[in-house]
Each structure stands twice: as structure tokens, then as C-alpha cells.
């Protein structure tokens, strides 16, 4: 048994004890500053520091850093330690660098040089140290500097196992941080064979690397499926004594099994029947083992065993092909739901969420509904309860919706604050999605507002209003229900909003009953008025003017209210304006005009639920794509849906009624002259991206090109794709008609630059994605689509890009394009990534325009005129005379013309 303590560093121990004995933060800082000064002077003055001393000081700096103090010196000394021949000095140097030096440090060049020296040396221990450092920092500069050395180490025959292991993970790190700097080569084809390596550690490391490669390019590494299956099979069928040290608490190689099972989740079920059978056998064996009595009572044994089991279940769910396995998996998870280990209950709920989305097992999952509901009510741990909510949401369908929604509503009254908002969204979505009877839906939403009013976001109450307006059959019921709900002495402001809106529209439907007559309704609403925020008051004023139309008999009461100082002289300009305008409107217009202006709201166009959009934004992973869409009619109107997703800013433009609150552009304006566009605004297309004609640059010729292109791209602008284009993109796109290089798109997160070159029918385009933030952009994905039948005219080949874009880094992607026949539209590329957890989506037209494929032809004057004269049919001539807005600059015109490819 090794002891690493013993030869302690006395100075270090004393220093640490001093710090620990400090009574106050000030004393601690004082002591630290004293020590920093001491170390600084030692580093500066004393050239004869020996390794031991340097090591001691660096350890002290590390300790100070750990306490949260900045270390701004010592870097150079650490770099010097790297070139030492002594292991201990080198080691501490590397440690300091990988903990304290950021990727952008000036010294990085020196560090890389030292690393290269160590990699080239023959000492495996030095090589390992260098690799560790690269893996831990993993900067772009390192990737570029070491792109050849590391793959070589990995596949070379004379590399020892432990170095191979480290090299695999180092390469993985570099591929993640800058995928394009690593040259693809021979090593790639050999890499999957590492799965057969004798050394289990090497296989584990290689499996991680291969999984990363596979994610980018599954086709190329297809061979790894059968290798992984056979390796897995050998592990699963081995007895725990076979693998000796890689057996962990009687479980053979649990980590490697998990890795292999994860790797296989990147592919569909194997095509080769032999491989497929073998894999099924493996999965069955794993499921069988779960039923065997445990070989040890220790928690580590069951942990390791279950880690493999859960991964196997995930693979079964992923393959989604064998009903027998799926049901077994479901039963196994069902057992875990009642296990006494909290961890297993948590994971079982999580995996069952996935299972619920499979058609084979959806019914089987539903059997456990009672257990899940009990979990929701009785679990002590909020993380587990949250998973239970997720599962209930996933397993809900038409048959059990009423029960699940009821249970969730009941739980909501006592739910943890941290999950209330999400629960409200989920309840609202389920209620809408599975409502057979819309009166039930209205009840659910009003209950939501009653129980958890503070957590009901605007989207939820907007949505209930949309639905009530669109469905005649619930309007009367809704009016009655809100009327009753408003009777409560204290009701939430959101309830007042919904109540005001619905009574304003449909109050007449319940006015027949004297208990809810017009005056009663108005008094009820007005009794809440003084308790509300200005925004709600504005909404109520609008409801009042609608009342004037619905119930002429109470006109004078309402006019008195509008006229009161409290409204007409309100400090809030919006309220003042509404009071005055509504009062005027009601006094000067005839009943007919009033009836037209204050007509009932027209139905809202069907579109994706804004609540769903919000939930997606909140938890991108929790909403399985597509599963909801069959329920909503959103897919019928793709243009609208796209404009929802494009928003990079917070989803203000989605909010149906947000305009109504922030401006006078309220729903009553619907019938008024300027209200014509109101329904468009509600779609979130507030200012349609009309192609304006911006005059860019000063060249007169350019204007001509502009008009030219706005004609040629006119069909596209009406189409779906423009609806999805990100702001400002159209203008930037048009600039590329006359140039080949430049910036295509820029916002706070990302800058996208383009370089292109064309020869005859072939074009090559490089797109540079620059991360402008100080965070890594994750799950970076670029997709190119060809609208209409463009794919027949233009073939596009896209080099892979993706994974992550490091903070401040730039990645490059190449597109090769061949023009087959003439085309009018441009391909659309969609860029998606996660920025600090939020999904971002940008759609841009790829600047590929037909004129780029024009090739200038060299010819002498005679040939030219012969050809010129041959062009004599009238349709071959077209002339347009335009007025130059500025003097013609020859140089600039030349540049434009050559950019346009006519020179």
C-alpha cells in the first residue's frame, strides 16, 4: 500500500496551518498577501531555488488559488519547470499550468513547445504528463500544434497501454474543442479496432473517443457496431473472476459495458441478423442478471450492476424494435419504482419517461400510473418528485388525462416552489391536448389560476382565451365559470384578466339570469379594479367599453367610471388615454358604428400552442419533438410555426396579447380603421420582413443590381423560407451577389462569415462561425435545406461541423456546390446550438446565387461582334435606364462587376 504522505513539506504545512488558524477573513487575506510577497521575491531574486523549493512554492500558490484568490504570477516559473528533467518538477509544473493557465495565455506557445518535446521523448511517464496537460486545457492552439503527434501515439504499435489510453482521451478532447484542426487520416480506419484491444483500460478510453467520432459521422464508423457487440457479449457472459481487476464488486467491467451500450445507442438496431441476435442475447442476459440474488450486500455491487442494467434498458428503448424486450424493460423499471433505494426510483422514473414515448410500451407504462402518482405525493426528495411529474406528463393520453391532470392539480397546492411553474405549463398543455370536453379544459385552467396564480405565465391565460374565442360551444360556460370564480373575495390578478376579457366578449350570454345581469357583472369586475396593476386596469377598461356595446342599459354607469378623475386624470398615460378615447367613442358614435367597432373578436388562426413553445424553451429536452404536433393543428401553417422558432430574443413576439397590454393597440381596436393589421400582429409577425430597397455602398451600378435581385428573388420572399429567415439576413445576403467574401450574419452570440470561390459549374464556400461569447456553444448543428425543387438544380455537399464551439473560437465549414441547371432560390441553412442551456436557432440563406456561375469568356473583337450580331431576336434585348444617385466610381463598378462574375 503506497503512502503518499510522509515526506511533507514543512513550509507548506506551516503556511496552511497559519491560514486555518486565522480568526477573520482580513487576517487570512493579510497572511496570504504576505506569503504571495514572499514567493514573488523568491521567484524574482533567488536564482538558485532547487526543485524542492520551487515545488513547495507552487503548492502554496495552488492552495491560495483554491481559496479563491487570483494568482497573477508564477506562470513563467511553472513553464520553466516543464523543461526540467526531473519528474517531480515537471509534474508540479504541469499541474500548475493545467489548473491556473487559461487557454488564451501568452505563454501557451512555450507550453506547447515543452509538450511537444515531452511527447517526442521516449519516457512514457513524461508523455503521460504532457498528454494530461493537453487533455485538461484542450485549446485550439494545442489542437493545431499537436494534431499530428497525438493520433500517431494512439495507433502506433510500440506505444504502451497507459499512454494509448491517455492519447485516446486527449485526442477526444481536441476533437471536441476544434474538430477541424485534426487531420483525418489513416488512424481513423484503425481506431475502431481498438475495441478489440487486450487492455480493458484502452478499450474504455477508445470507446469514449469512438462515440464522439460516430456522433459526427456514423456511416464511416459503422464497423464499430459488430465489434462493440462482440466485446459486450464477451464481458456480459464472463464470470466475475475472468476479468480480475476490471471486476468491480463482482460486476465485470461495468464502466466499459456502459460505454459500449451508449455507443450502440448511436445506431439503429444492427442489420446483420447474427449481430442482432447476439446483441439481443446480451440484453437478455443483462435483464436476467437483474433477477439473480445479489453477490454482495454492498451498495457498490448493486450500483454497478444497475448502471449496466439502466444503460441496457436505454438501448432497448432506443432500438424500439423488440416488443418482448421492451415489456421486460418496463417491468424491470416497474420493480425499481418501488425500490427502497432513492437513486433507483429516480432513475426508473427517468427511463420510464423515454419508454412512454414508444408505441410498444406506452400501454405497459400506464400500468404503473398509481405508483407514479403515489411517488409524486409521498417522495421526500424534490428531484424524484420532479421526475414523477415528467413521467406523468409523458404517459398521459386521452384515456387517463382527466385523472392525471386532476392529480397534478391536487399536488400543485402543496408542490415545491421550484417546480410549480413547470407543472403549471404541463397541466395547461395536457388539459388542452386531451380535452374532449372543453368545459373541462376551462375548469382546469381556472383552477390553475386559482391554485397557483403567481406561477401561471401569460402564455397560459392567453391560450385559454384563444380557445374560448375559437370555440362557440364553451363561450357561455366560460362566461358563467369566470363569473363564479370572480365572486371569491380574493382572486388572483390573472383571474381578473381572464374574467375581464371573457365577460367583455361573452358577458351577454349569461346576462339573461338576473343573478348575473349586466349591472351585476360590471359591479363585480369593477370591485376588483382598484386592486389591479395598470396593465390589468387597461384591460378592464377595454372590457367596459365592450360592455357599453353589449349592454346599452348600463352605458351611463360606465361612462361615469370612465369620466372619474381616477381614470381620466390617472398618472398612467395609457389609462388616461383609454379612458378619454373610450368615453369619446361611446358618446359620439351611433349604436351601429359602436357595434361594428366593438364587434366580437374574430377567431384566432390555429397555430402552435404558445405554452408548448415556452416549455420547449424552458426544457428543450423534455418535449419530444413531433409528438405534440400531431395534436395541434400547427403543422398546417408552417410559416407561422417557423417564425416562432426563429426568435432569438425572448419570445415576446409570440405573446398573443402582449401588444394589447403595452400599447393602445388593444383588442377593441380590431374593428377600427388602423386595427386591420391586428390579427397579423397576433401572429407574431408584427413587422413582416418586407424587402425594402436599401442602398448599400455608393456605386450607382449597385442599385441596378439591387433592383435586379429583388425581382429575381421575389418568388422566394413570398414563400415559407423568408418567414424563417433571421433578421437583417436578407440585406446581408444580397450584398453577396456582388462579392465573394464578407460577413453574412452577426448578433450578440455569433458572427458568420463567408468566403467563396467559383469555377465553371463548381463552387466552394467556406462558412466561418465565430463564437462571440465567453461560453462554449454546445450541440452546434448546421443543416442545409433546398427549398422547392432547388435540389434538382444545385447539388450541395456539406462537410461536417459541430459539437462545440469554444468561447471566442471560430470554426470553419466547407460546402461544395455544383450547378446542374439554372435556379432562382437560394439554399437555406439552419444553425442550431445551445447557449448556456437555451436552444438557439438561426436560419439564413446561403449566399449562392446563379450569377456566380457565370464564366467570363475571352474573345477578340471579331469573334465578339460575330456573336453580338447573331443576337438579333427582340426577346434577347432588354434595356433599363436608371438615374445614378451618385457619381460613378470606376474602380468600384469594376469590383462589383467582377464580384458579379461578368468581368
Amino acid at each position: 500500500m503506497p503512502t503518499v504522505k510522509g515526506d511533507g513539506m514543512r513550509g507548506l504545512a506551516v503556511f496552511i496551518s497559519d491560514i486555518r488558524n486565522c480568526k477573520s477573513k482580513e487576517a487570512e487575506i493579510k497572511r496570504i498577501n504576505k506569503e504571495l510577497a514572499n514567493i514573488r521575491s523568491k521567484f524574482k531574486g533567488d536564482k538558485t531555488l532547487d526543485g524542492y523549493q520551487k515545488k513547495k512554492y507552487v503548492c502554496k500558490l495552488l492552495f491560495i488559488f483554491l481559496l479563491g484568490h487570483d494568482i497573477d504570477f508564477g506562470h513563467m516559473e511553472a513553464v520553466n519547470l516543464l523543461s526540467s528533467n526531473r519528474y517531480t518538477e515537471k509534474q508540479i509544473g504541469y499541474l500548475f499550468i493545467s489548473v491556473l493557465i487559461g487557454a488564451n495565455n501568452d505563454l501557451m506557445k512555450l507550453v506547447i513547445q515543452a509538450i511537444r518535446n515531452d511527447l517526442a521523448g521516449r519516457n512514457p511517464i513524461h508523455i503521460t504528463l504532457a498528454l494530461q496537460c493537453v487533455a485538461n486545457i484542450g485549446s485550439r492552439e494545442m489542437a493545431e500544434g499537436l494534431s499530428v503527434d497525438i493520433p500517431k501515439l494512439l495507433v502506433s504499435g510500440d506505444t504502451i497501454d497507459s499512454v494509448k489510453q491517455s492519447a485516446a482521451l486527449t485526442l477526444l478532447r481536441l476533437l471536441r474543442s476544434s474538430p477541424d484542426s485534426i487531420p483525418m487520416g489513416e488512424w481513423m480506419s484503425r481506431i475502431i479496432h481498438l475495441l478489440n484491444d487486450q487492455h480493458m483500460g484502452v478499450v474504455t478510453a477508445a470507446a469514449s473517443l469512438i462515440e464522439n467520432l460516430v456522433k459526427k459521422n456514423p456511416e464511416e464508423y459503422k464497423g464499430c457496431v459488430s465489434l462493440a457487440v462482440s466485446r459486450l457479449s464477451r464481458i456480459v457472459t464472463s464470470s466475475y473472476t475472468d476479468l480480475q481487476d476490471y471486476t468491480y464488486y463482482f460486476v465485470p467491467a461495468p464502466w466499459l459495458s456502459v460505454k459500449l451500450l451508449r455507443l450502440l445507442q448511436n445506431y439503429p438496431p444492427p442489420e446483420d441478423p447474427a449481430v442482432k441476435t447476439r446483441l439481443s442475447e446480451c440484453l437478455e442476459t443483462i435483464l436476467n442478471k437483474a433477477q439473480e440474488p445479489p453477490k454482495s450486500k454492498k451498495v457498490q455491487h448493486s450500483n454497478a450492476k444497475n448502471a449496466v442494467l439502466f444503460e441496457a434498458i436505454n438501448l432497448i428503448i432506443h432500438m424500439d424494435s423488440d416488443p418482448n424486450l421492451l415489456v421486460r424493460a418496463c417491468n424491470q423499471l416497474g420493480q425499481f419504482l418501488q425500490h427502497r433505494e432513492t437513486n433507483l426510483r429516480y432513475l426508473a422514473l427517468e427511463s420510464m419517461c423515454l419508454l412512454a414515448t414508444s408505441e410498444f410500451s406506452h400501454e405497459a407504462v400506464k400500468k404503473h400510473q398509481e405508483t407514479v402518482i403515489t411517488a409524486l405525493k409521498t417522495e421526500r426528495d424534490v428531484s424524484v418528485r420532479q421526475r414523477a411529474v415528467d413521467l406523468l406528463y409523458a404517459m398521459c393520453d386521452r384515456t387517463n388525462a382527466e385523472e392525471i391532470v386532476g392529480e397534478m392539480l391536487e399536488y400543485l397546492e402543496s408542490a415545491d416552489y421550484s417546480i410549480r411553474e413547470e407543472m403549471v405549463l404541463k397541466v395547461a398543455i395536457l388539459a388542452e391536448k386531451y380535452a374532449v370536453d372543453y368545459t373541462w379544459y376551462v375548469d382546469v385552467i381556472l383552477n390553475l389560476i386559482r391554485i397557483a396564480g403567481d406561477y401561471v405565465s401569460e402564455e397560459v391565460w392567453y391560450r385559454v382565451i384563444q380557445i374560448v374565442i375559437n370555440r362557440d360551444d364553451v363561450q357561455g360556460y366560460a362566461a358563467k365559470t369566470v363569473f363564479e370564480a370572480l365572486q371569491a373575495p380574493a382572486c388572483h390578478e390573472n383571474m381578473v384578466k381572464v374574467g375581464g376579457y371573457i365577460l367583455g366578449e361573452f358577458g351577454n350570454l349569461i346576462a339573461g339570469d338576473p343573478r348575473s345581469g349586466s349591472a351585476v357583472q360590471f359591479q363585480l369586475l369593477h370591485s376588483k379594479y382598484h386592486l389591479c396593476s395598470p396593465a390589468t386596469r387597461g384591460l378592464l377598461l377595454s372590457a367596459y367599453i365592450k360592455f357599453i356595446n353589449l349592454f346599452p342599459e348600463i352605458k351611463h354607469i360606465i361612462q361615469d367610471v370612465l369620466r372619474s378623475d381616477n381614470n381620466m386624470r390617472n398618472a398612467d398615460v395609457e389609462l388616461q388615454q383609454r379612458s378619454i378615447e373610450y368615453l369619446q367613442l361611446s358618446s359620439i358614435t351611433t349604436a351601429d358604428v359602436l357595434a361594428t367597432v366593438l364587434e366580437e373578436m374574430p377567431p384566432f388562426p390555429e397555430r402552435e400552442s404558445s405554452i408548448l413553445a415556452k416549455l420547449k424553451k424552458k426544457k428543450p429536452s423534455s418535449v419530444p419533438e413531433g409528438s405534440e404536433q400531431k395534436e395541434t393543428t400547427a403543422s398546417k401553417i408552417p410559416a407561422v410555426q417557423m417564425s416562432n422558432n426563429v426568435d432569438i430574443a425572448p419570445p415576446t413576439s409570440i405573446n398573443l396579447m402582449s401588444q394589447g397590454e403595452s400599447s393602445t393597440d388593444d383588442f377593441v381596436d380590431q374593428g377600427s380603421p388602423q386595427g386591420g393589421s391586428a390579427s397579423v400582429d397576433l401572429l407574431g409577425l408584427g413587422s413582416p420582413t418586407q424587402p425594402t430597397a436599401p442602398s448599400v455602398g455608393s456605386g450607382g451600378l449597385l442599385d441596378m443590381f439591387d433592383t435586379l435581385t429583388s425581382h429575381s428573388s421575389a418568388p422566394a420572399t413570398n414563400g415559407i423560407d423568408l418567414g424563417g429567415l433571421s433578421g437583417g439576413a436578407e440585406e446581408a445576403f444580397r450584398k453577396f451577389i456582388c462579392k465573394n467574401n464578407g460577413v453574412l450574419f452577426e448578433n450578440d452570440l455569433l458572427q458568420i462569415g463567408v468566403k467563396s470561390e467559383y469555377r465553371e459549374d463548381l463552387g466552394r464556400l467556406w462558412v466561418f462561425y465565430g463564437n462571440k461569447t465567453t461560453f462554449q456553444l454546445n450541440a452546434f448543428l448546421v443543416d442545409v435545406s433546398t427549398p422547392g425543387n432547388l435540389s434538382e438544380s444545385l447539388s450541395i455537399q456539406q462537410k461536417p461541423v459541430g459539437g462545440e464551439v469554444e468561447a471566442g473560437a471560430q470554426v470553419k465549414q466547407q460546402f461544395n456546390m455544383a450547378c446542374v441547371q439554372e435556379f432562382a432560390e437560394a439554399p437555406v441553412m439552419t444553425i442550431q446550438f445551445l447557449y448556456s442551456g437555451a436552444q438557439q436557432k438561426i436560419s439564413l440563406k446561403l449566399p449562392v446565387v446563379l450569377n456566380k456561375y457565370i464564366t467570363p469568356a475571352e474573345m477578340d473583337a471579331n469573334t465578339f461582334f460575330t456573336r453580338w450580331k447573331a443576337l438579333n431576336s427582340p426577346s434577347q434585348e432588354c434595356q433599363q435606364i436608371i438615374k445614378a444617385t451618385s457619381p460613378i466610381d470606376h474602380e468600384q463598378v469594376k469590383a462589383k462587376a467582377s464580384g458579379y462574375c461578368v468581368l
Binding site: 511533507g8 526531473r86 489510453q165 477526444l172 464502466w255 421526500r380 442551456g837
Partner: protein, 190 residues
């Protein structure tokens, strides 16, 4: 991928922090504090997984932790890691520390920050699991120790002789220093 490995005590004092994704220094400190805040308010017998705090990346990340006597061992990971696998990895890490330090306690982590980093480097590299076989890990640590001893033997012999005299009773001294009681974390329910 493992984004960060943090060890702190019951009062939130950091004892080890290792980030495998770049965060600026002050952010690192904030993440430690936030994670402590999230983890420390949980009971001991609830589950070992929870969603990550906002600073480290929100619900796309999981915090997987174990609590041993005075110390929390916390791994922040993304969705590509198996939860139970990481939980076992924490166990391997602690068992390895226990073997290397012979009944490891919080003080060992404080006084041997460098060693703890070296041991961790044998387990996790660039955020990925490097080696899980404890025998193999300990062999590698032993090799390092041997090298260290031999180097110290050649070069620092005179210095060592002097310091050996001075430090004859260092372990005892360390124990004598005024320190709060720190129970060993080694012999806890493995």
C-alpha cells in the same frame, strides 16, 4: 463528459476543484458556492442526483454527489454519463484516496493538494473516465512515488538530511496543531 469535480467540506470550504471546461476564475468560485448551496441543504438519505445550478449550465447538467463525513464529493456531468457509473467513480476515487493516504481524512486533502490532483489525474482525464481499475491506479501512483523518492534521494540528499532532522516529528506536529476535529472519512460505509 464530466464538466467539473469539486470537493468541499460541510461548511463549503473548497478542498479540491477541477474544471474540465473553461470557466473564468471568479466564475469557478461562484460555481463552487452555488453547488455547495444546492447540495448542502439536502438530507443525507435522498437521492444522489440533482439538476445542475444555473451557473454551470442548468438542467442539461446533472450534479452527482456523495457525502462522506465532513466532505462532499461532487461531479458535474452532462447527459452523456451514466449516473450510477459516476456514483461508482466517486467511490473509486475515495477508495483510492483512502488507500494512498491510509485512512484519508480532510486534513490529507488540505496538506496534499498536489497529490490529490495526481491521483485524480489517473482516474479522469479531460473530463472523461480514464481508468477505473483501482489496482492499476495505485500501481501508477506507486511508480510516481518511487520516482519522487529516487530523485529526492540523489539531488536533495543533503537538504533532506537537514530537513529530516528538523522534521523528525512532523506527523505528530500536524496533529498537535490547533485544528478542529476531523474524523477520518475512510472507514465510512464502503
Amino acid at each position: 463528459m464530466i464538466k467539473a469535480i469539486l470537493v468541499f467540506n460541510n461548511h463549503g470550504k473548497p478542498r479540491l476543484s477541477r474544471f474540465y471546461q473553461y470557466y473564468p476564475e471568479d466564475m469557478q468560485q461562484q460555481i463552487v458556492r452555488e453547488t455547495f448551496h444546492l447540495v448542502s441543504k439536502r438530507d443525507d438519505n435522498v437521492c444522489n442526483f440533482l439538476e445542475g445550478g444555473t451557473l454551470i449550465g442548468g438542467s442539461d447538467f446533472k450534479i452527482i454527489y456523495r457525502h462522506y463525513a465532513t466532505l462532499y464529493f461532487v461531479f458535474c456531468v452532462d447527459s452523456s454519463e451514466s449516473e450510477l457509473g459516476i456514483l461508482d467513480l466517486i467511490q473509486v476515487f475515495v477508495e483510492t484516496l483512502d488507500k494512498c493516504f491510509e485512512n484519508v481524512c480532510e486534513l490529507d486533502l488540505i496538506f496534499h493538494v498536489d497529490k490529490v490532483h495526481y491521483i485524480l489525474a489517473e482516474l479522469v482525464m479531460g473530463g472523461m473516465v480514464l481508468e477505473t481499475n483501482m489496482t492499476e491506479i495505485i500501481t501508477r501512483i506507486e511508480e510516481q512515488n518511487k520516482l519522487e523518492k529516487s530523485e529526492a534521494g540523489i539531488a536533495a540528499a543533503p537538504a533532506r538530511a537537514v530537513s529530516a532532522l528538523k522534521e523528525m516529528n512532523i506527523p505528530q506536529k500536524v496533529k498537535d496543531m490547533k485544528l478542529p476535529d476531523l474524523p477520518s472519512i475512510g472507514n465510512l460505509k464502503f
